[in-house]
Symmetry: C2
Subunit: 465 residues, 2 copies
């Protein structure tokens, strides 16, 4: 010991970083090793991880198979149809919503607002008050979009008369569905339900959807996966930045829209609607991710997530080997607020759009879309760090989606619940922030992580299987 | 000395990096300082720099004024007109070309090929052989685009009947001009002049230009500077990558094209022409840069470049305080070749497109467009390094153009010939590579630097003033 303190100190500090300040003050050179005990040192979790260790070869093979399927999935936008025409079981008084299952009584403001709007849009109620009573009456069936092969941003409300983008994966013969993005400002997905909101929805149903559907028939479909791949080289991460992807989609669909037989002014209006909304593509990116992950769902033993979704109350995940939802309390978002709002105004994390992160886009691909920090907050180096860090909790990577900024690093793919538990690193999600009250709309955007409890619950289920 | 070698060595190696290998072998820690003697130690150049040092306050003020003017310039695309209608002095047998002045006898293959094509396009010759004879006869006036407020990529040929984009800077009441980009493959600007090339030029003149001109009238012009600013956040550097900018331009002009009175099929063809060419916007980016730099031209004492251009034989620069061209031999390009070609096939550096680098775009902004290394070669970290390095030779920076990848660093602006000479760092230019023979076309893309001799010549002129 005496000898040790006589010599020049060369320190490696493991774990708690609080000691580093002392080395700094005493001018002692040191290296900090950012280490934490596996599973936070939790004996029960460590026991479960150890138990799964015995099944490692089978689990690895299963996860390999999930990723093989997910990566081989294709995603082509083939039509825009009314939900009741294409979604089985939608020909009744049913409202789909974002996230895991939830009762009316627990629903957050934005979801309630969107449901009020949908009930009026369907003509099942004539005033917000009557809609509220109807929603609470038990006469309406509420179900998660995900249970119907669909996804919806924010409140994620889909009612039978709403047109949905239909995406086809020819490889696995699957389809996924998502509504048409309404734009920014006061919109249904943020819980707004004024007459202007409903009028826009009717215009989408009656004017926009028929043209786009006809154009898609002429085009023979549009390759959504290919557009995502290009847009990742153009500063998008296809969750909260869809500017390039929307432009690429617009230029692909444009000539086909123009060759439909609708009146010219109606065609121009349809094209200007897409042109005027940089987030149009979000509602194509999301169902593509759903489609690819659905291809990877249902592999026994697999520990990779195929769904992450939030209903504004709970955060839910699914893993490939189980049809159960594993849920925990939805977190608050940290980010940038629009002028005039405070963090008190924001609803907790909501929406199916975390399907993009489940697929390695969004927060996982932020390093390729550094301009997004102006929208969600943080620094560019954080964006780079997130994209690298997500590889630590993923089973593999996706060569179809690369990030030029990080030397063409492929995006991380396949969130492995074992790795999340072992490392304590939670998936990073970038997201819009809704006002907590119905009818207001978006108040900002930021970053959020799921609650660890979902992953613990999933691990328990796998370990006890 | 004995004492020195007894102690542990801590080495700073200054200059020549060849010693570093020895330190590495002997396991001696060292820091390398990348230092070179100013102006390469050239006594004459050092003398001139010293002489200018006495005038430093006036020169700084002059360069400040250049940058103030350049940054305040606006760039709006206001029309597409025939060159002879808008360029004074074009109503005669004249052909404009890229780069500094050059005689027919010295012109490189691509420029000769493009001139042969232009002479046939104008109807001044009916065969390539007759065009060749006419070009050599002295009956045709050849002049640099830059002398007419115009710019042209590669061969840069503009003849009187060619339509040109007209850009307006309302602040300085100036205009700049550039032809319509023909697309990739066999095109006039790379020296191709087959019947297919001429037919496309006629279609641009007769079908495309009138529609675009009418659409621009309806639009009241399109803000080119604003599109560049956005595209730099979308992976473009607006010289060799214009994919995002072309898409942004297309979405802006689209509704106006559709509202013109031309037949629908002609409108669709015009829009599909823009859609089909990711480089369409290059011919808008270039005249915007020309327009901005023209605003900064003509400030006495200034040592900042307002033009860099190449004719395939010589590289020429202009500085704000002089109307002279300072030239040197054009360099060979280093980069990636299209399949089937070798470096032997490539013509030397050619084209007015280095006006983008003069304005801080292109090679200067590569760090914001890392995907471009797949096209021009090199590694992503090189792209980052170039964008940082260019600040060492520039007088200032441009807050209108920022690079998210580099933490929103503004692009370097205002190449100061004194700094180029003092540091030995030459501007970095990314560029297309033309085949050296007329009529072939593009063979690849890569990186190139100007010859130091232009900057030396300019420095001499300034010092002796």
């Amino acid at each position: 010991m005496t000898d040790l303190f006589g010599k020049e100190l060369r320190v490696i500090n493991v774990g708690a970083s609080t000691f580093n300040e002392d080395y700094r003050r005493q001018n002692i050179p040191f290296i900090h090793l950012d280490w934490r005990p596996p599973a936070g040192g939790d004996a029960e979790l460590l026991g479960m991880l150890e138990q799964l260790e015995a099944r490692r070869p089978e689990i690895t093979r299963a996860n390999d198979e999930v990723l093989r399927r997910v990566k081989s999935a294709q995603g082509k936008l083939v039509g825009v149809k009314l939900a009741r025409e294409v979604l089985p079981g939608m020909d009744r008084r049913i409202i789909l919503h974002a996230g895991p299952p939830i009762a009316w009584a627990n629903m957050a403001g934005p979801m309630r607002g969107a449901i009020i709007g949908a009930l009026m849009y369907e003509g099942w109620a004539t005033t917000p008050e009557l809609a509220l009573a109807l929603a609470a009456s038990g006469e309406i069936c509420f179900a998660p979009c995900h249970e119907y092969g669909a996804v919806g941003p924010m409140a994620g409300v889909i009612s039978p008369s709403m047109p949905v983008h239909v995406l086809l994966d020819e490889v696995h013969e699957k389809r996924a569905y998502c509504t048409v993005n309404e734009g920014l400002g006061k919109v249904l997905r943020y819980g707004a339900h004024s007459e202007a909101v409903l009028q826009r929805l009717r215009w989408i149903e009656n004017d926009f959807a028929p043209i786009l559907d006809a154009a898609l028939a002429l085009a023979g479909g549009i390759d959504v996966k290919g557009i995502i791949s290009q847009a990742l080289h153009m500063g998008d991460e296809c969750h909260n930045r869809n500017k390039a992807a929307t432009g690429l989609f617009l230029r692909e669909i444009m000539p086909h829209v123009l060759r439909t037989s609708f009146p010219l002014e109606q065609k121009i209006a349809a094209l200007e609607f897409i042109k005027g909304n940089d987030h149009y593509f979000l509602n194509l990116s999301m169902p593509y991710c759903k489609l690819a992950l659905a291809a990877g769902h249902g592999v026994e033993q697999a520990t990779v997530c195929t769904v992450m979704a939030r209903n504004g109350y709970e955060f839910g995940i699914k893993i490939s080997s189980s049809d159960r939802w594993f849920t925990g309390k939805a977190n608050k978002i940290e980010g940038l607020l629009f002028p005039g709002f405070t963090m008190e105004d924001a609803a907790p994390d909501i929406g199916d759009s975390a399907i993009t992160e489940t697929m390695g886009l969004g927060g996982f691909a932020m390093g390729g879309a550094p301009a997004i920090v102006q929208f969600v907050g943080g620094r560019v180096e954080d964006a780079f760090r997130y994209s690298r860090q997500m590889h630590e909790i993923c089973h593999g990577e996706n060569q179809a989606f690369t990030l030029p900024t990080l030397d063409f690093m492929p995006t991380a793919l396949g969130i492995d619940i074992r790795k999340v538990i072992a490392t304590g690193i939670l998936p990073i999600i970038n997201t819009g922030m809704a006002h907590k009250e119905p009818g207001v709309g978006q108040v900002g955007a930021g970053l959020v992580r799921p609650p660890m409890s979902c992953f613990k619950a999933a691990l328990e289920a796998v370990a006890s299987h």
